[in-house]
Subunit: 198 residues, 2 copies
Amino acid sequence: MQDNLNFLEHRILEDGSVQEGDILKVDSFLNHQLDIDLLDQIGATFWHHFREKGVTKIITIEASGIAVACMAARYFHVPVVFAKKTMSANIGGSVYTATVHSYTHNVDSQVIMSKKFLNQDDKVLIIDDFLAKGAALEGLSALVQDSGAELVGAGIVIEKGFQDGGQRIREKGIRVESLAIVERMDDTTGEIVFRNED
Amino acid sequence: MQDNLNFLEHRILEDGSVQEGDILKVDSFLNHQLDIDLLDQIGATFWHHFREKGVTKIITIEASGIAVACMAARYFHVPVVFAKKTMSANIGGSVYTATVHSYTHNVDSQVIMSKKFLNQDDKVLIIDDFLAKGAALEGLSALVQDSGAELVGAGIVIEKGFQDGGQRIREKGIRVESLAIVERMDDTTGEIVFRNED
């Protein structure tokens, strides 16, 4: 029995499931069906963590980061800019690019963000739904660095604490606030254990 | 001079631009950078149109539809389910699939939605940022039809009225509420003229 779980950890235990291949399935509320009230509470929690940092932009990566980023942005009253995975007719002019390695699909890809939406006067909060090996977060951090903006930190909904992304990124001096950190999970028993932050 | 423009049409004239190839560029507020206050107002307007229809689910298609759908869902107090463009480890079990032809990229693709999030008891509102030739909306409608759910209608942010998607879909008896309908636009002069709904 785990004590002192927060609202998100309770929800993960209730509706999440562990599947083979280190997959934590939360498609009923976070990355396929979206529970808007839960996302609102997540957004408010990110606001609580970063409210005194003068955030001017929230950035994320398509697709499932967009919902969380938007719900957080309501509290910060700042725009969201989402990095795109494909160059499209909707992006013109100069762009920042960064390489992201998808461990899920085992491919390298480029993410793209128009330069006009991020510059050295910005204070940027990165928001994403998952942090595992850290590839997406590293890509987004690289975009921020290229722009000359200040990276205030990263707000993550669920971190897989048993993978190395979180540690590696924190060691670079980047502040990472994960609302739930899974310390270990087991697809045979279904057990999910969270890191105790107390 | 166009009279009686709504908040969105004003914003399109102010910050949108017309580019070669029938592209209406609104990346500074709708599909790359997201103006959250504007999206909130858009969401409230969809609520106004469909509030008496007993909507139980809002569906959309990744990526840029997600933001608008989430902001609308806050008013309806229902979940969002977004159709995915790629099968991923996050989707398991039975899925609905539909074919969507992207006129922008000139390719056919499948969109996928887990069957467990849509069924015959649902009353579904489709939300999307653009309606042009109607491919995405037809794909989403097909998913709803497969599920046996009732399609309440579609809330579209910007419709390109000079393309045939809106007319074709309305002729099928589907209610489409577009917050701005571009009657014509010209990339050489930059002119944008909206359909007068009065």
